[in-house]
């Protein structure tokens, strides 16, 4: 598969009065044309920052320290702001986690979608308006003609989220960054939206970076999954590889906290401790303090990324051939036990 996006050795930090926050640490990631890549990981691990870095939507105190972002083979890191503006919307667009950051509260929803269409094509206003109404209908907003002229605060949370998706798709981008695009939707509407995205992908070969914490959703939509922890990608593989043969203890922890595997009456399992604030990081593997499988070397040296298959990689010392053999928890074909 040809890669539309390739991120190489990307590191980015925020410089704040209290110090440097290492939000992205040596990220390597590819996105194929027509591929849906899921990104999962705990709150604060850098999922949103990663997408915003590619689109260059970060505040001034954020600096790329190292690395390349190849879009169709061309490094866009050195691009000027005006060149980036040309890419945003037309080539890459983003659905933000919080719909109200995209929506202008004073402008009717329909007009905001129409404008997004007009900005990226040479059609007449009335034609764009017609398309905008079709898009509202497509994302499941009923009476779209009536809703067209209404401002965002007349819409429910889930409706706003679907409107934002409609705006992002209206410009027909080649890459869509969708940051938790279905969190505010009930499961029936969510199922429909996921089907729509899959259909659009099959028809247009759009590539999608799908950020979510819902393993049910990634299982349904993603071709591949990247697991992030503290600004790093700790495991990446095909969806089946991540679910049926996870190798990183952090991925094990995430899977075990799923309510799907929980027993009623018992507390849900959580990964002990908290993700680190990404400042003055300790040496070694930053996950070590929360990892019950941690080895001595984890406190000394950061693990490299090990290849498991051509498509499956994980950054844990457990994969080193000198590491003791442990019995990994099983999640499927039986219940989750440790």
């Amino acid at each position: 598969m040809e890669n539309i996006l390739e991120i190489k050795n990307l590191s980015l930090s925020f410089y704040t009065p209290s110090g440097e926050i290492e939000a992205l640490r040596n990220i390597n990631l590819q996105l194929g044309k027509g591929e849906i890549l899921g990104i999962v990981g705990e709150s604060g691990c850098g999922k949103t920052v990663l997408s915003k870095t590619v689109l260059r939507l970060l505040p001034k105190n954020a600096k790329i320290k190292n690395g390349e972002i190849l879009l169709n083979g061309k490094d866009i890191v050195p691009y000027s702001e005006s060149k980036m503006r040309g890419l945003r919307g037309s080539v890459m667009s983003m659905v933000f986690q919080d719909p109200m950051t995209t929506l202008n509260p004073t402008i009717p929803i329909g007009k905001q979608i129409t404008e997004s269409i007009l900005k990226h094509s040479n059609i007449k206003y009335n034609e764009a308006k017609k398309q905008a109404i079709e898009m509202l209908d497509m994302v499941g907003i009923d009476s779209p003609e009536k809703r067209f002229a209404m401002q965002p605060h007349f819409f429910s949370g889930g409706m706003r989220q679907r409107c934002v998706l409609a705006i992002a798709l209206a410009s027909k981008p080649e890459i869509l960054f969708a940051d938790e695009p279905t969190t505010a939707l009930d499961v029936t509407v969510q199922a429909k939206i996921l089907d729509i995205l899959l259909k659009i992908r099959d028809e247009t070969r759009i590539s999608i970076v799908f950020i979510t914490h819902d393993f049910g959703v990634v299982a349904r939509i993603a071709d591949r999954i990247a697991v992030m922890y503290a600004g790093k990608i700790v495991e990446v593989g095909k969806t089946e590889e991540i679910f049926y043969d996870p190798r990183h203890p952090y991925t094990w922890g995430l899977l075990s906290s799923l309510p799907y595997f929980a027993k009623k009456g018992e507390p849900l399992k959580c990964i002990p401790g908290m993700p680190p604030v990404m400042m003055n990081l300790p040496k070694g593997d930053v996950f070590a303090t929360r990892n019950k499988y941690a080895l001595d070397i984890d406190y000394e040296k950061e693990p490299p990324i090990f290849d498991i298959t051509d498509t499956h990689k994980a950054a844990t010392w457990l994969l080193d051939k000198r590491a003791p053999k442990i019995k990994p928890p099983k999640f499927f074909g039986g219940e989750c036990h440790e």
């Binding site: 209290s18 709150s43 950051t101 505010a184 499961v187 029936t188 049910g216 799923l258 309510p259 959580c270």
Partner: protein
Amino acid sequence: MNDILSVHNLVQHFKINSGLTINAVNGISFDVKKGEIFGLVGESGCGKSTVAKSIMGLYSLTSGEIYFKGNMISDRKIYRKNKDDIHKNMQIIFQDSSSALNPRMTIEKIIREPLKANNMYDKTKSEKQIDELLRQVGLDVSFRQKYPGEISGGQRQRVAIARSIALSPELIIADEPIASLDISIQAQIINLFQKLQREYGFSFIFIAHDLSIVRFLCNRVAVMVKGRIVETAPTEVLFENPLHPYTKSLLSAIPVPDPKIRNSKFIDYNEKELNDNGILKEVCPQHFVYM
């Protein structure tokens, strides 16, 4: 008196202009018992947040009554008389509360503010409590000095949760409080809610679309479609024996974290099938279905 909250025939119609009225809530009734976690689920746009905001007194009702600890707080006069009690004992966590945090306040100030406003602030005690609250929602003390713009979406939502439990309210209305959180933190917050319920007798209205969490957490559940409750029952009864076609559709759509079950059967439901003048009938004890 066993109910902390009673909602009677709540109707909420929004008049947009002379040609358009949105009938957000069309006559719903339910009670929340003391110490109970009551789940409210349903289609996007079916009126869940409107119910929550109506209870909080943010809209005047088109019609209907709301009782909090026996006082009819939908009446403005009675609301005003009980204002202090309501402010302290009924808290809401909004669906998008993270965007409602004051961007010019530090996190510690955001959590401290309601304590001060309700005269519950005591410097040594409250400052320790703030550390503890942050820890309970999975944030450490280094977050105290940060501003909302400097933290991630899920971290902001947790600040909102910490703020709303700071006053130890008797009733928390949680409108999709954890949708934006990853599963490990979700688990932590769910365990926290369960602890608040079991150890301190908090009551909750828990609005959510993640049905596996609803099943895990709630004692009773009501399912809404187009501003109406179409089915309500104790949680296990509802999940084991759903009777209304929309409930069946909803349960069939739960995404399963297993890629093999990707294309499992999804039962569609057309909300136009819902008739406008049905009633809730008790089909077995405590199990009501709209028909």
